[in-house]
Symmetry: C2
Subunit: 756 residues, 2 copies
């Protein structure tokens, strides 16, 4: 280590700062302006003292040093290209769009690097760029490619203008004290105040919404307020334009996050919204610590970071609602989230996520993360079963996560959340299943190629509405080929599922919920469980979906599965040489039919192979059902859809039915060593028993032993129930019970009670 | 290090060997029997002295120690299960099949571990297992599940019996001197001599073939011969049953490998055949060094190891012919190949492959590899452009490999090889393209789920013949919806392609070949090149396929591509709501039609996205063609096929046509950081110019500059040619030439010569 005193000597001896990697800012570069400028120009989003500390210590910690080197490299390229501020023209992904994105990154990076290295060239580059914007911005009207959303000025949607301002305000804050008073005034007024005004007073509906776009807007305006020392601007950002608290940042925290830190739109948008929440909160904490923003609503912003990490598998977020599949723990927004949350909570488990991200912020919080990692303080993040309540007060359903076998083991997600506004899908009580690091029972996510101009300019594709949002594109009940709420999300906002059960024990994890209002006159109740048994190599997923309707209807239950079909364990008519579509609308028009069976009440099987593991799905219904094998991709003129398989159980002309199933991961296919193990299911039979006020799913295993999961219609914990399984009456108290039976007991007399 | 003297003290002090990991064999365990048994029982495949050296030094080298620990763990499981030798019953993947596989692995492992640790329990386990086989084997007839291939005794095909013997003979050799004379005689006669007799005299046709099955058989018989001191058996293995050299191991080396070490059936079977070649060769070298087996045919066995590694991308073998896609550098056979080849050649590049395999042999060769790796002597393996000649004399075509950008860069494989016997596909002059670690232009490989019982018992599926082998399943010319040679591989054996060009320079790599005899009256000549240009970010692949027929015909040229379609740059009738099949037979019945255009001579484009990179394919033809988008999976009753896309260019009613195309990798889609770069092709136009005795493909780039690749009909290096490109006459000598033209030159006058 070179001590500061020594370094000062080196500097005064004429050794340029540039030659010293991550060196301290020279006295000449920072102290001198600091002496001259008024207090109003000093940095406020990160204080000068904090910048000095980072400059002094950052190079000691590999993660911070790596981040700084990365920023320097990106900025080197930008500076080599010069100041390029084109007239706004293109939609997302187009040239002007990408250039303005590069510019805010460059302004942000230049500010940080100026502070970290003391190199005036960085500050000057940011200044020149901002002066160019001061020329351009006042001349702009509505973006020529504006459509769909609120049009911006620099970008096609104002959302991107907000993002620009959140980043640029941070870079500007860092270099503002290097400017002449005239330059500062020009940039303050022509760029920042104008943009803040555009994003607030001039687009009040957008600014006052309770929505992720508005979160970016209030963060942009609030941070600009701090930089410009404009408390009125800050207050509007915090409390809404009328400053009455009915809108603005605090209201957004209250309304968009549940008490468990679940964000109404789901993990994909939680990830996106997280950045402005934590970045602005951090700015508030720095400038108005008396607000105790991180304690607001019982510390929900920090919970939200943990919850977002929990809402992932294999590094990717659960793709419920409008989600793009490749988004996960390494996104920039969560890099910010982890740094800010760690600085507040000191939770060492967050460090292991930072380690995996290999990124952090060039901020005091990033420095803390890098320092703690360098000191070896990271602990593994504990992915755990969780019930994440939804709704501002936690009473609008929730996301149930069952987990076994560690990070790459079995994860079952049950989507009992509320609608999630315009990005919500029509998939009440949908489920997803992960195993062995893979997506096994899948959610299509969104139909969108983000920023790919050739795909409708990078926005949501028509197939997002016609397929991805529709009920049949999910693993849940569709009635009469309609989607939930008739596909009306505003109607969907009014009806949340009612959670019935959530319990985690050693060999059984269970979640249950009931949905009313998705269809007129139809109530459906679903119970999903992860069950472990000594005879089964891995936990199996059990599904019981009970539908109670007021009149006969068509009930479809799709299972979207991933893998190569190994065995179709039922007779079916195959569409071998022409391939029809399944239906006309509501997503059905996008399904090619490959096979369709005759109706039957006998349970059937389907098995497939995925990444060296076999999956056997055994399924039945209390009334005769058809089994249909289908694939997405029909009526897709622009090849916008991925082609993925589904198995659909269809019951016609019944008012009521119970669907029941077990999904069993088993065995191993090893192509390298050329062996196959455990390719056969260890479950010999599946049946369902109906009692007076409960039903049970019974698995008969290869040995003849059996295990039953009994589920009461009423989950009340104090109620007693009885049901006859295998000729014996079983009794229990509460919403569910598990019964394990040795080989003799069940096999002898278990079949006569199959249907009610 | 504990020196041997010290260790001996520990042992004599009563400390059990079992407590010392990888300890030396105690004098009591090995020397004592060695003193008693006759010379005829001492180990010969690995000498006692070599075993002692491994026992002494193995634990010093992590790779060897790891391999030994792995073997010990596998054997621990086997020994816990006891001696389990079931009656043969099941086909590949079934219980008895897998158990007999586990048994030969256990016998092999037990022999090695006995020698490495001195623990008698290992030797006793192998003995008991072999005594159980001595009971069972004499009672066996034809395997009950035998079908298709030559039925075995222990396994459904005799091939597996050979593999059993290759492994078990090695284990037996290691423990043979621990047996009583009676035990030894019993196992010698009832197991090994009987099996060797079955695999040779009793199945002479199979034994005397020139084929990988026969390689396993001769290796099994030859190694058994060494162990039993039966030189007659060895000689038959080396020279064929008549010992005249018209069959047997030496003839197999001569006939199955080309002078470049290419194996007639392709990399997948080269990998499979490699094990018996190198293992038996190693045994020959040990027992009859005077044969100089590794120098045989100019050292072709060692070349074959290098060639096999060269025949891979991203760790996986090029899946030409009947290949399963997941086979690659980590297969056990190549673990043996690397160890044996390194011991012979000392080539440090092979060590980096061993490092990647994380495996080696428990043999003197494995010890050498582990020692060299521990000493840090590994060098990167240089994947390089190569022309691998095919045929015993190197005059039966060959596999051309063009490579740029290092291991994960661009690799273009042109399959100009001969038929490759019964596992060969009907795909003369086919090509594959890899980029960015991905399969971009693909080969389906084989339709087979190895060892998966539910898939036809794990053998080749019916769709292997009906789809995977057919011409239309490949990226090459199909005439009148027929496959090459009418799908008759024996006819195919008679016609090899004629290589015309192979050249590698700084900015151009080129391969060319001509095929005659695949169809009556049709000659087709194809040239493929990797071309680099400063304006293009990455090398592009250029394809010119010239067809000369004697009468009008239907010419189809498929391109099987991998990725999500981004843009279909041509008008086409879309099969949106019912999906017809393309044809009736020869693979066409397996293709669903998604889109079909009207005929046109204008070049078209198709672009797709794969793993964050864009691919733009620009293609045209000298006569009007249709473009058809299709997908495999029709007429597939058991869901045996993967569903993969193809673009087919179809020219009808012409005797002659030239197809020309360029495939351009470009840009980046980054989902994590949410940006897209370079999504547009940098090639503005593609056209073809025909001269008197040559043609040229001309690419016009975004800047207006252009580059032409001219290809002479006659590749003779001394011939002079001329062609008019962009209004100027270009001259060159030899088979091809590249012309780079600045912006003005070509753009002004380049279009009038588009077609001949």
């Amino acid at each position: 280590m070179i001590r500061p005193a020594c370094l000062a000597m080196l500097v005064s001896a004429g050794l340029g700062i540039a030659a010293l990697p991550f060196a301290l800012p020279a006295a000449a570069a920072t102290s001198a302006p600091a002496d001259q400028v008024a207090a109003e120009a000093a940095p406020v989003l990160v204080s000068a003292a904090q910048w000095r500390q980072m400059a002094q210590n950052g190079s000691r910690y590999p993660l911070f040093a790596h981040e700084q080197a990365r920023a320097a490299e990106a900025l080197r390229k930008a500076m080599a290209a010069g100041v390029v501020v084109p007239p706004p023209k293109d939609p997302g992904g187009g040239y002007s769009h990408e250039q303005h994105k590069r510019n805010y990154q460059a302004i942000h990076g230049a500010g940080a690097l100026y502070r970290l290295t003391g190199e005036r060239a960085y500050a000057d580059y940011a200044r020149d760029m901002l002066l160019a914007y001061a020329e351009l911005y006042p001349t702009l009207g509505k973006h020529p490619a504006g459509r769909g959303q609120v049009p911006g000025r620099l970008f096609w949607q104002s959302l991107n203008d907000s993002v620009w301002l959140v980043h640029a305000s941070q870079g500007y804050d860092a270099i503002r004290d290097t400017l002449s008073a005239a330059e500062r005034r020009r940039i303050d007024e022509q760029v920042f105040r104008r943009m803040a005004r555009f994003l607030s007073e001039q687009t009040p509906d957008s600014f006052n919404r309770i929505h992720n776009h508005a979160t970016w807007a209030v963060a942009a305006v609030g941070m600009t307020g701090y930089v410009l020392r404009d408390q009125d601007m800050v207050d509007k950002a915090l409390l809404g334009l009328s400053k009455d608290g009915k809108a603005g940042f605090l209201k957004q925290i209250d309304d968009l996050f549940s008490p468990d830190g679940y964000y109404e739109e789901g993990p994909y948008y939680q990830r996106y919204a997280l950045a402005p929440f934590v970045i602005f909160a951090n700015a508030i904490e720095r400038n108005e610590p008396q607000r105790r923003i991180f304690a607001h609503k019982d510390g929900v912003l920090l919970k939200a970071v943990d919850t977002l990490v929990q809402s992932s598998y294999g590094g990717y977020f659960f793709p419920i609602n409008d989600a793009i599949l490749d988004k996960g723990l390494d996104t920039e927004e969560l890099v910010a989230g982890i740094a800010v949350a760690y600085a507040q909570s000191g939770d060492a488990a967050l460090l292991s996520i930072a380690e995996r991200q290999r990124r952090t912020l060039l901020s005091p919080e990033g420095l803390q993360v890098a320092e703690a990692l360098a000191a070896g303080r990271a602990k593994p993040f504990a992915f755990r079963p969780a019930m994440l309540r939804d709704g501002p007060d936690g009473d609008r359903g929730g996301l149930a996560i069952l987990r076994a076998g560690g990070e790459d083991g079995q994860t079952l997600v049950m989507k009992n959340t509320s609608q999630g506004m315009g990005h919500g899908h029509f998939d009440k009580l949908n489920w997803l299943f992960y195993d062995n690091g893979q997506r096994v029972v899948t959610d299509y996510g969104a139909a969108r190629f983000l920023n790919v101009e050739a795909k409708a300019g990078g926005i949501y594709l028509p197939e997002n509405s016609s397929w991805a949002k529709q009920t049949v594109a999910h693993n849940t009940l569709a009635v009469n080929e309609q989607s939930h709420f008739g596909g009306d999300w505003k109607l969907g906002q009014r009806h949340a599922p009612a959670p019935l059960l959530f319990a985690v024990t050693g060999d059984l994890q269970i979640a249950s919920a009931r949905m009313q209002g998705a269809y007129d006159g139809v109530v459906f109740t679903r119970t999903l469980a992860l069950l472990e048994h000594p005879e089964l190599g891995l936990p199996v997923a059990i599904d019981l979906l009970r539908v109670q309707g007021s009149k006969p209807a068509r009930y479809d239950l799709p299972l979207h599965f991933n893998g190569h079909i190994i065995n179709v364990g039922f007779d079916a008519q195959r569409a071998l040489a022409t391939r029809p579509v399944l239906g006309k609308a509501n997503g059905y028009q996008h399904l090619w039919v490959d096979a369709s069976s005759e109706p039957s009440s006998e349970p059937r099987t389907l098995s497939w192979l995925l990444d060296g593991r076999f999956y056997s799905y055994r399924f039945g219904s209390s009334a005769p059902s058809r089994a249909i094998l289908a694939e997405s991709g029909a009526n897709d003129p622009d090849f916008n859809l991925r082609r993925e398989q589904a198995l659909i159980q269809r019951v016609d002309g019944q008012p009521e039915v119970s669907f029941f199933a077990v999904l069993e991961p088993h065995g191993e296919y090893n192509g390298t060593a050329e062996y196959v193990r455990g390719a056969s299911s260890r479950i010999r039979a599946l049946h369902r028993v109906r009692g007076d006020d409960a039903e049970a799913i019974v698995l008969t295993l290869a040995s003849g032993a059996s295990v039953a999961l009994a589920i009461a219609d009423d989950p009340a914990p104090e109620r007693r129930h009885r049901i006859a399984i295998g000729g014996k009456t079983r009794q229990w108290t509460g919403g569910y019970a598990r019964f394990d039976m040795p080989a003799g007991e069940q096999a002898s007399s278990g079949t006569e009670n199959r249907t009610p």
